[in-house]
């Protein structure tokens, strides 16, 4: 056999053995076998002496290339092992950081919604869906907000091209549900609402609301207070105090705005509660008899209460987020905090 052919044979075998080796240990054996002090390639270099003089340069070059090639292949193969077979040596330094896997996070608005719905769910409220794109009837008329009434002004609204609108509050779900179902009704609904407000730290043209309502014989204002107090204590903590203030909503009467004692300062007054000691968290009231008339529920037999709250606001209060835009920017450094 010619010297060159012998080298080619060595090359072929080495390539196969490198690719056949299945771990770092085996690969190391291959390296020693070919490139070690008594290795095959080292031996072959010694054999160059016996090559005819005219063939010597070619043989020398070939042998150098062979050495380089085997070295390269060994390195490549080793890299492959490095990523797959991680532990190649026993490691006794326990102070090295642990290997962490990435954890995914639910968006804080979703988390807030889920927590609130769960609390009402435990009290027997059923979660329902309701459309965002609505008619004037569901968003205004059936909620006792007549055309040309000043109260419509507080519900500035986006209209779409076919004359329908993007609902400005989730109270539309009251009408949707009461049209289909008869009392006893106990429902909770979460979804988006839209109002033409310019975006700043506390305003957005789109935000989330949760609406809840209960209709049955014998439902009273005191039940509304009981249910909301239970909610506030479950969600904000046992120590929280509540305050009901008279207010006006066209779809409830009597209507109430509900404040909770500021859980940051405990009611002493701080930046979060604008030094009032109270935080406004929801609107509520007894369902207006006019609304019952629209859905053909007899107000002389049934009574009910309804409440609505802004999820964004509650989420911001709960986590101390000072800018609503953070919720919609979705910076992962923000998302990972929840």
């Amino acid at each position: 056999m010619k010297f060159i052919d012998k080298l080619k044979d060595i090359e072929k075998k080495a390539i196969k053995e490198i690719s056949d080796s299945s771990n770092i240990g085996e690969l190391e054996n291959v390296r020693v076998k070919y490139l070690g002090r008594k290795g095959i390639v080292t031996d072959a270099i010694k054999g160059i002496k016996s090559v005819p003089k005219k063939d010597k340069p070619e043989a020398g070059m070939f042998i150098n290339k062979l050495k380089q090639k085997i070295t390269l292949l060994l390195e490549e193969r080793e890299k492959g092992f490095m990523t797959k077979e991680t532990v190649i040596f026993e490691n006794n330094d326990m102070t090295l950081p642990g290997i962490k896997r990435e954890l995914g996070h639910v968006h804080p608005l979703v988390k807030t919604t889920q927590e609130i719905i769960e609390i009402f769910g435990k009290m027997g409220f059923k979660a329902v869906e309701s459309p965002e794109i609505e008619t004037e009837y569901y968003n205004f008329e059936a909620l006792n907000i007549p055309k040309n009434h000043p109260s419509r002004e507080t519900f500035h609204t986006f209209y779409i091209e076919n004359g329908n609108l993007l609902r400005s509050q989730t109270s539309t779900s009251q009408i949707r549900v009461m049209e289909k179902e008869k009392p006893p009704i106990q429902v909770i609904h979460a979804g988006k609402v839209y109002r033409p407000d310019a975006v700043d730290a506390s305003h957005s043209f789109m935000f989330y609301q949760i609406e809840g309502f209960m209709v049955d014989k014998g439902i009273q204002f005191s039940d509304l207070k009981g249910v909301l107090e239970r909610f506030a204590k479950e969600y904000f903590g046992d120590k929280v105090k509540m305050r009901f203030r008279p207010h006006f909503f066209p779809f409830t009467e009597p209507s109430a705005e509900v404040d909770i004692s500021c859980f940051i300062c405990g009611g002493k007054g701080c930046r979060v509660c604008s030094h009032k000691g109270w935080l406004e968290v929801l609107g509520s009231g007894m369902i207006n008899p006019r609304v019952f008339e629209f859905v053909k529920i007899d107000p002389s037999v049934y009574t009910g209460f309804a409440f609505g709250m802004g999820v964004d606001r509650i989420c911001m209060l709960k986590y101390g987020i000072d800018d609503i835009r953070l919720l919609y920017e979705n910076d992962v450094r923000f998302l990972k905090q929840f």
Binding site: E161, N164, F205, K225, P246, E253, Y328, N330, V332, L335
Partner: protein, 685 residues
């Protein structure tokens, strides 16, 4: 609405502090949002709800504070004597009302030899507290009465009124007026005006005209005290883009009973401050005063709605404080509603009044008895699949995002998807929010870009949210729940592992785990084309013969239109379609009784042969004995012939009936090898 604490003292003997008054008012429905100190006076900012226009005056607030605190209220004599009055006198200026619906009543009063000069200090201060600049004594008096009694007034220079006539009419097309702010305003028949014999001299209920305004030279004046239809005023405000303290009150409705009394009050002040002389020349045109309404309240209703135990005497007391003249007969209380309380018309309104003054905080809290609700399967299914998806994706390290549903047409355009079924807004605030998005992908790309710009390098995100499509056939907009996934960037390494870029197969793995975990049996991932996704790198997820979504590598030019220079991989799946093939009901499969045997195989074959083809061959050959096929190595490049690739598989063989022996496994494995060689020209290595 602003109110000065000192001014309230004109009506009430206030011995309480401002913050005590604040608490009384806030807890009965007039929320004080702030108190400012102006020249030693406490000026309270009050949120007045739209149902209570009667509270848009110092008197109105005083009435509420009186009812809440029990401090009796005292009216100025001139006001008290003239409430609910209508003058028959027609001796003064000639008033014609041509639109009786738009202007039910107009009282005009002439005052002569008025001295127009700067107002006294107390008047300047009071107006200042309300945030109004002093003009001159006459104008200040009209503003003063507006704030004091809630009745907007206007003073004209009588001598500048042509023929000294007042005509209340719709503006004619082509007419215009220069209002006192110096702006020329084109008018039209939607706008009600006060005119003299020839031209408009004021925009009714909104603003007076420059021509007839009170100046230092004015000698004789006409004071207007009128009422206008709220809708007419609101429309005119919108047409003209103009609003004022007057229009604010007219839009909400003024007190019929106060129109005449306000005129008298203004006359009194003009005499006092501007040495004017009432010529006794008053005209009162328009309808008479409506009789006060009466409402009956059943005492049983109070308990039925509120759940409180309250005595009839206490109720009567509350009604007395509210000036409702209650009379109790058997189980009912009859009340008379004063003219300023137009919001009270039904018994429920009275119940609210009781609750308000009884104190919401004094109503006991109780928990009602709850009735289990019927849960609809479909609703339950939608909610559960959403939560299941969240669990699976968060478990794989993806973060959930929430984005706006409104976007710009341009953003949708950048995705390269068709625009014809967009739901567009009629009254967008800006072009940034002019359409409802038809896809979640645009916002996903925006969020990826936002994060890349902030050097957040590992991005694995998803969103569960609605998309909106205009159904051309029904003309209705449809809302559909979608899932989007976006991944981009680099998985950082650590002292054991090397960093690497996320790629298509990371996304594919996410989709496969998702589909598997949702129990979507028999779904297939197939090649497709999509306007936003790169050719040869776009796939559909097909289930039950229907594509429920797409995923792949986002086209470079699409990504670049969102300012992303990196490779981005994205998916969008319809939840409705996913629901059809998903099955969240888990059923137990018995664990294998017999052991499995694994065999490795390395093959060299043409690069163009897809892995799925190889998989199918292995499956077809070994049938149910193959339990799993894993690719553990793929190699192309040096030492391998061009156009070829080297693949290594681990195949797991197992029978459900018996333990396979070595020979059996070797035979099957041989069959697999032969098939790969024969059918795919593979070379076993």
């Amino acid at each position: 609405m602003r109110v000065s604490f000192d001014w309230l003292k004109d009506f009430l003997e206030l011995k309480i502090e401002a913050n005590k008054a604040q608490s009384f008012l806030t807890m009965t429905g007039l929320e004080i949002t702030s108190i400012a100190d102006i020249d030693g006076d406490h000026v309270m900012e009050i949120e007045v709800t739209p149902n209570r226009p009667d509270c848009l005056s110092v008197l109105g607030i005083a009435r509420e504070l009186s009812a809440a605190s029990g401090i009796p209220i005292k009216y100025p004599d001139s006001v008290k004597k003239n409430l609910m009055k209508k003058a028959g006198a027609k001796g003064g200026v000639k008033i014609e009302i041509l639109d009786k619906h738009a202007c039910p009543r107009y009282v005009g009063c002439i005052m002569k030899n008025v001295k127009v000069e700067p107002s006294p200090k107390w008047l300047v201060q009071r107006l200042n507290a309300m945030g109004v600049r002093s003009v001159n004594n006459v104008v200040d008096i009209t503003n003063y009465v507006l704030f004091e009694l809630g009745q907007p007034l206007h003073a004209f220079d009588l001598d500048k009124l042509d023929q000294k006539r007042i005509v209340v009419r719709r503006a004619k097309k082509g007419e215009s007026i220069v209002t006192i702010d110096g702006i020329t305003r084109a008018l039209n028949p939607n706008v009600l005006v006060i005119a003299d014999a020839v031209r408009p001299v004021a925009v009714a209920g909104i603003m007076g005209g420059k021509d007839t305004e009170i100046t230092a030279e004015t000698k004789n004046i006409l004071i207007e005290s009128a009422c206008f239809d709220p809708v007419v005023i609101r429309k005119a405000c919108r047409e003209l883009g103009l609003a004022s303290e007057s229009s604010y009150r007219f839009e909400r409705g003024v007190d019929q009973g106060m129109i005449f009394a306000s005129s008298i009050r203004a006359q009194e002040l003009v005499k006092e401050i501007a040495s004017g002389r009432a010529a006794g020349e008053m005209s009162d045109a328009g309808s008479g005063i409506e009789k006060e309404k009466e409402i009956t309240l059943s005492l049983d209703e109070v308990a039925r709605i509120l759940g409180i135990d309250i005595s009839p005497e206490r109720i009567k007391d509350i009604f007395k404080k509210l000036n409702l003249n209650p009379i109790k007969k058997k189980n009912h209380i009859y009340v008379t509603i004063p003219s300023y309380r137009q919001d009270l018309s039904r018994d429920i309104d009275l119940i609210e009044e009781i609750a308000r003054l009884y104190g919401y905080d004094n109503v006991p809290a109780r928990l009602p008895s709850f009735t289990p609700q019927k849960i609809y399967q479909l609703e339950k299914k939608t909610v559960s699949i959403e939560n299941e998806i969240r669990k699976i994706l968060c478990g794989m390290g993806l973060n959930e995002i929430m984005t706006y549903s409104l976007t710009s047409r341009n953003t949708v355009e950048r995705l390269g998807i068709p625009l014809e079924n967009l739901v567009s807004l009629k009254n967008p605030m800006s072009s940034q929010q002019e359409v409802m998005r038809p896809s979640l992908l645009s916002e996903m790309l925006e969020v990826l870009n936002w994060n890349l710009n902030r050097k957040n390098t590992l991005l694995q995100l998803f969103e569960l949210n609605k998309v909106y499509i205009m159904n051309k056939e029904t003309g209705q907009a449809e809302e559909k729940m979608h899932l989007s996934i976006g991944i981009c960037g680099n998985k950082p390494g650590n002292w054991k592992e090397k960093p690497r870029d996320l790629d298509f197969f990371d996304l594919k793995g996410i989709i496969e785990i998702l589909m598997g975990s949702l129990g979507a049996a028999g779904y297939r991932i197939e090649k497709t084309t999509h306007p936003s996704l790169k050719e040869n790198m776009s796939t559909t997820v097909n289930a039950g013969g229907k594509a429920c979504g797409v995923f792949g590598e986002v086209k470079e030019d699409v990504a670049r239109r969102f300012d992303i220079k990196k490779k981005v991989y994205a998916a969008e799946i319809s939840l409705d379609d996913l629901l059809i093939c998903a099955n969240l009901k888990k059923t137990f499969t018995a664990l294998p009784k017999y052991p499995s045997i694994k065999r490795d195989i390395a093959i060299l074959l043409d690069d163009i042969i897809d892995a799925s083809v190889i998989y199918d061959v292995i499956k077809e050959e070994a049938r149910e004995l193959v339990k799993s096929v894993d690719v553990f190595d793929l190699y192309k490049g040096q030492q391998i012939q061009e156009g070829k690739k080297s693949l290594a598989y681990t195949i797991e063989y197992r029978s459900d009936e018996r333990t396979l022996n070595d020979k059996e496994v070797n035979d099957i494995h041989k069959k697999v090898q032969d098939a790969l060689t024969k059918r795919l020209g593979a070379q076993i290595r």
